[in-house]
Chain length 367, copies 2
């Protein structure tokens, strides 16, 4: 946890959506900007699977956050106007309670004794933080990737507590292609003998499986079109590997470097739980159809953004979200961006995303 | 090897394209139909990475082949008119010499001492079989997937020995997305401790890594669109797995069943060599550009077939092949099929492929 990260403990039994409970879980969060007197200018951000609550730098923690170019004075999530909150997802490992945390009942880490995690639990835990901050109604919920589904769960379950919703490269539920990819990533980690049925040594964990999972992640987070232009058949110059299987192409070096950076930073069991939660979410569970799910929201304004080259949350799923919201909220905007960097575009193609979010938050005013 | 499989030994030193040599390699092949008196009706088939030479059944071996519905009396590759040859690729493990074969110099299996394999070597070895059969010029070369690139190598290196070429779901060279996928599949196998730097026990090999690689294969051989219609969010009913990570969705069961069927059947080192060979091939190595490569062919007739939903050999690569051939061969046809089953369509969507190949071979007559 960074220096700007605060924590709150949700006292008592936290009942999990699919059964089981947590005893007084802790949630880590950061905030930027100031809450106004009417407590009406708060925006809650739900992150994708792997980020912490550190979405942006601040005086207390000047290190760049995962959405640094989106949050700040004069930026789309304008800290001069809004009070921005980002919560580390329940089940994650950056200060919030998850499988890597100590179970107060046993004094040992939960590991696989952690109950099944759903995005409903992620949403409810974040709602606990929002209430702790004394906020009754959010100006907006903004969710990226998995966080878009967590945000959707929030809007459906707390319809009177959200004014507007921004869904970025997300979906109303996972499709079989995405489920297959994530299921295989989890199997890669579980197949590493060092995973040891979840009881790995923290200093000697399933790094090999995590590296493989991360590489498959990158293959689905980016796009063939980007890599065609960026790497083509360029050869690698960094001499990684040896013999018959030395790294030969620049795209292989790129994946190797990305994988080496990532592993070690994220607890493997937490990854498994959050990845599984992404498969489980389905808006249609609210009333039996997607339409009935959308009907339970009471939003005044919705923005759905998607990217043409996204493999994991493809653009037709963005269209599905936009159509669903349009049926229940007149002020729904759908923006299909022509970025080439696939699912990751919202993290790396800020010049495309910033104007869209700027316009949205400019237009909605701040009461 | 099946009962219909024949073998030929290419006497002497077989010099490999990237260096090294093989001492008198063996090639396994099957044939269907009869060679005519002028020896002018032979069609050579290059398979994808994993099939054997058993492309179709015959009296000697009635078990169904991997392209059963394409080869036979009255079928597109019509055994009443043509003499069909399918060679098990050099480097494979179904009768042809490969990393799993015994090196005559040592009496031990080659394993990683096998020289770097290229699709040029696959093409040259097949050319040895064709010459052994006394055929000076092929009526046609037909190549599917990796085999399309092997076939391209054949046409470029033996321009006077091929009349027509059919490229099915293939490419002039691999793109970085496909390289990334195959590189990761190889890493999955090499990361399995049982791979043991290639020195695995044949009865206790890297099955876990092979299973993972096969699942990633299926994710790229099919399409999100097919799975959306076929599986949606249907739940699994077969109760595979247990606990937190039991199989939950039908698409996961499907992948599990496919992986269980495949593993054990293919030698892991052979897989690594053939997969790597697919990354290496580049038509532009013939003269410095794709255009110069195409110019070296002397084909009278070309057919390029591709599928809209192919992730691994995407349709723009089919267009690239077709455009390249059109510049040097007037009688070039490009057919873009609207199949939903992705790269695998040529193996499973025969109703779409058969008419296209029928028309091509009907039109070309048989001299």
């Amino acid at each position: 946890m960074g220096a700007a990260t605060k924590t709150v403990t949700l006292d008592g039994q936290f009942r999990m959506h699919r059964g089981g409970e947590l005893e007084s879980p802790t949630l880590a969060y950061e905030t930027w900007g100031a809450l106004n007197a009417r407590r009406s200018n708060a925006i809650l951000i739900f992150s994708g699977l792997s980020p912490s609550a550190h979405a942006s730098s601040s005086k207390a923690d000047p290190s760049p956050g995962w959405w640094e170019e989106m949050i700040g004075s004069g930026l789309p999530l304008d800290t001069d106007r809004f009070f921005i909150i980002c919560v580390n997802s329940l089940g994650s490992c950056f200060g919030s309670t998850g499988p890597a945390s100590v179970d107060p009942a046993t004094g040992e880490c939960y590991r696989l004794d952690f109950p099944v995690l759903t995005l409903e639990d992620v949403a409810e835990a974040a709602n606990g933080v929002v209430r702790h901050l004394g906020i009754e109604r959010l100006h907006a919920v903004v969710g990226c990737s998995m966080g878009g589904m967590s945000g959707l769960a929030y809007c459906v379950r707390h319809p009177d507590e959200v004014r507007a919703f921004v869904s970025i490269s997300s979906a109303a539920r996972a499709e079989p292609f995405s489920i297959a990819v994530r299921s295989l990533q989890r199997e890669m980690i579980r197949s590493d003998p060092k995973w040891n049925s979840g009881n790995y040594d923290r200093d000697d964990g399933p790094i090999v499986g995590q590296r493989l999972a991360r590489k498959l992640g990158m293959i689905t987070y980016r796009s063939a079109e980007e890599w065609r232009g960026r790497f083509g058949r360029e050869r690698s110059t960094d001499g990684l590997g040896s013999g018959q299987f030395k790294i030969e192409f620049a795209v292989e070096s790129y994946l190797e470097n990305v994988a080496q950076k990532f592993t070690g930073g994220f607890d493997p069991n937490c990854y498994l739980y959050l990845s599984h939660a992404s498969d489980l979410f389905d808006l249609a569970e609210y009333g039996g159809s997607l339409a009935s799910g959308f009907k339970r929201t009471k939003l005044e304004q919705v923005l759905v953004i998607g990217v043409r080259t996204d493999l994991l949350f493809p653009v037709h799923q963005q269209q599905e979200l936009a159509d669903g919201f349009k049926a229940v909220c007149k002020d729904t905007t759908f923006v299909r961006l022509d970025c080439v960097r696939g699912h990751d575009s919202f993290l790396v193609d800020m010049d495309a995303f910033r104007p869209v979010l700027c316009e949205f938050f400019d237009s909605c005013g701040c009461d």
